[in-house]
């Protein structure tokens, strides 16, 4: 099912938690709702599920306007951050609950449940109570309970945040697999950009309730609309150096050389030069010089930290002879280098 939101807004008193967000989520896709804590992700999800009424704007499921439809009639599946399993019911009863509410006879609901239970691999603890399960197991039960009613839309609110690092990676792959097998349009909330990048078809990035950018992972990484997006995505974090535009190029604070770029910017504009670590090359096509401060082994590559201007830059190199303290020439590849206006964060290059 395709989900369309138009100018969706939620205000709590004077505070705007979600601010005029519009987007289309295509059928069968997994969309990550990404943003720092408190940016309105849960609020947005609650509006989609019908738990919270929206202050303004519309929500469409396919062509149907569901803005005023209550939660029990929307037919979405929702997995809460804390899973919200019914503590007095066994795993099987929890999973069957949505069908029980619809008056499906017991035998039939268990039959239906078993199909999903096999998909999610929780068959070994059907008779246990939620308190007797690990976080990962509880999560799978919660996902099964959300899937069993064949939702047209599956909403997951930071489902992995309670798990340890290893299980988190396993579970996100599992969620991706289940999502692909069931083909349900899914919105996945997370504040972890790596998690969002690794499993989603597209990412919507929010900041203080305002949509920053909505697109594929590659879009957001290679073509950020502003500094916030560039800064939020990518590992390691994008390099940033403050400076000024003079005539033909960028001059970093405390530096004299001009790094030239082919754009038109008024002279004297305060700028932030940002480049991905992969976009810098050492001792090739030199555009400026910098001193090596640190170096680490990362897999088969070496990651170095360079001092430049008042900031520092990270770059990858295959050159094993580089030593701490060396002055190296730095060149740039034709991707992953951006200029942002310092004040507004707007992208100029």
């Amino acid at each position: 099912m395709k989900v369309t939101i138009k100018e969706l807004t939620k205000k709590f008193g004077d505070f705007t938690a979600v601010d005029h967000v519009s987007a289309e989520f295509d059928d069968g896709k997994l969309i990550a709702l990404l943003g720092p804590s408190g940016c309105g992700k849960t609020t947005m999800l609650n509006m989609l599920s019908g738990i919270l009424p929206s202050t303004e704007g519309k929500i469409f499921f396919d062509d149907e306007d569901v803005t005023d439809l209550s939660a029990d009639k929307r037919g979405v599946g929702l997995v809460f951050q804390n899973y919200a399993l019914y503590p007095h019911m066994t795993v099987l009863e929890n999973v069957c609950f949505p069908l029980r509410i619809r008056g499906v006879p017991k035998k039939e609901r268990i039959e239906k449940a078993m199909k999903f239970i096999n998909l999610v691999h929780i068959e070994d603890y059907l008779d246990r109570k939620p308190a007797e399960l690990s976080g990962g197991q509880q999560q799978r039960v919660a996902i099964t309970r959300a899937l069993i009613k064949k939702p047209k839309l599956l909403l997951l609110d930071e489902p992995l945040s309670n798990l340890d690092a290893k299980l988190r990676v396993e579970m996100r792959e599992e969620i991706r697999r289940i999502q692909k097998e069931s083909g349900v349009t899914t919105i996945f909330v997370t504040h972890d950009q790596e998690e969002a990048s690794s499993i989603s078809d597209s990412i919507m990035l929010l900041k203080r309730g305002v949509q920053q950018q909505f697109g594929t992972v590659d879009d957001l990484c290679d073509n950020p609309v502003n500094l916030f997006t560039a800064d939020f995505l990518g590992t390691p974090t994008i390099n940033q150096v403050h400076g000024t535009w003079s005539e033909k190029g960028f001059v970093a604070d405390g530096q004299t050389e001009i790094i030239s770029f082919n754009v038109n910017i008024p002279t004297g504009t305060r700028l932030i030069y940002a480049s991905r670590a992969e976009a810098l090359k050492l001792n090739q096509d030199k555009q400026f010089e910098a001193e090596i401060l640190e170096k680490y082994k990362v897999g088969k590559d070496t990651l170095v930290r360079l001092k430049y201007g008042n900031g520092s830059l990270r770059a990858y190199t295959e050159d094993k002879t580089i030593q701490i303290g060396d002055i190296v020439g730095v060149g740039m590849k034709d991707f992953g280098v951006f200029l942002f206006e310092a004040e507004s964060g707007k992208r100029l290059l």
Binding site: D72, K73, A84, Y86, P87, M89, R100, I101, R145, K149
Partner: protein, 276 residues
């Protein structure tokens, strides 16, 4: 060293608890033992502890002279009606005050709590006139109607309901549940220990209700057990062994109920909230 200290404290605790238990149980035991003695033995000085020859004569006398079976049935009917209706209204009210948002809910709840401070004795006159007006005097229904709701139990259950995470409610809503189904399929089962505890408290209160019963009931056939015992004494004169037999008949059902429901009472009292 530490172990020894631990066992010493537990020994003291145990001794104190045992003393407490003996003090609690002794009157009941004395009542039952006395009811099995003859008139001569009951008034003997020094008193004997165990009856020298067990006799069921007092019970036979009590059951013969007063229709205790009838009283028992009346008590049972009234108690069941009071408890069932009170639990129903309590659950609904607790749900409304904990979950539903309606204008004035806080004010109404505060007013109800304030009303708890009015002692029942103050309400007797108004209740009495109401019952008289409705023509329900000397009718078992009069024993039920004033006791079909309880602010105190509502308050206890509301507090428990408030401790149930909101996310369960929203989760059930998203699963397609109505408020009604959520209440009976999720909240009530989770609150089972608390509900059983207040139902037991309510049962005891209803079973022992005396003052109101004496006021509105006249005919012998409509008496409940406590009233029946009272009338039995009043009519039969003070014969302690017979009195004790009658009292045993009144108290025994409650003691049996307690023994069976012990598990729930303990868990209801000790489990204040639920784990998240």
């Amino acid at each position: 060293m530490k172990k020894k200290k631990l066992s010493l404290t537990s020994l003291i605790t145990m001794t104190l608890l045992m003393c407490g238990a003996v003090i609690m149980i002794f009157p009941f035991l004395w009542m039952i033992l006395s009811s099995l003695k003859t008139q001569v033995e009951v008034s003997m000085i020094p008193p004997t502890f165990l009856p020298s020859n067990f006799t069921l004569e007092n019970y036979i006398f009590a059951l013969k002279t007063a229709p205790f079976a009838r009283y028992f049935l009346n008590s049972l009917l009234v108690t069941i009606a009071c408890v069932v209706i009170t639990m129903f209204t309590t659950i609904l009210a607790a749900f409304a005050f904990s979950r539903l948002k309606f204008p004035g809910s806080n004010i109404i709840f505060s007013v109800l709590i304030a009303m708890m401070m009015i002692p029942f004795e103050m309400l007797i006159i108004t209740n009495y006139t109401t019952i008289a007006k409705w023509g329900l005097m000397d009718n078992l229904i009069a024993l039920v109607i004033p006791f079909t709701a309880s602010i105190f139990y509502t308050y206890i259950l509301r507090n428990f309901f408030l401790s149930i995470p909101d996310s369960l409610y929203y989760s059930a809503k998203v699963d397609g549940s109505s408020d009604w189904k959520y209440l009976w399929w999720v909240m009530v089962p989770i609150a089972k220990p608390t509900i059983i505890t207040i139902a037991l408290l309510n049962t005891i209160a209803a079973w022992n209700s005396f003052l109101w019963t004496v006021l509105v009931i006249n005919s012998t056939s409509n008496r409940t057990l406590p009233f029946g015992v009272f009338a039995f004494i009043a009519e039969g004169g003070v014969r302690y062994e017979r009195l004790m037999a009658a009292a045993t008949i009144v108290v025994l059902p409650m003691i049996i109920l307690f023994l069976f429901a012990r598990k729930y009472i303990v868990s209801g009292v000790s489990k204040g909230g639920i784990k998240g």
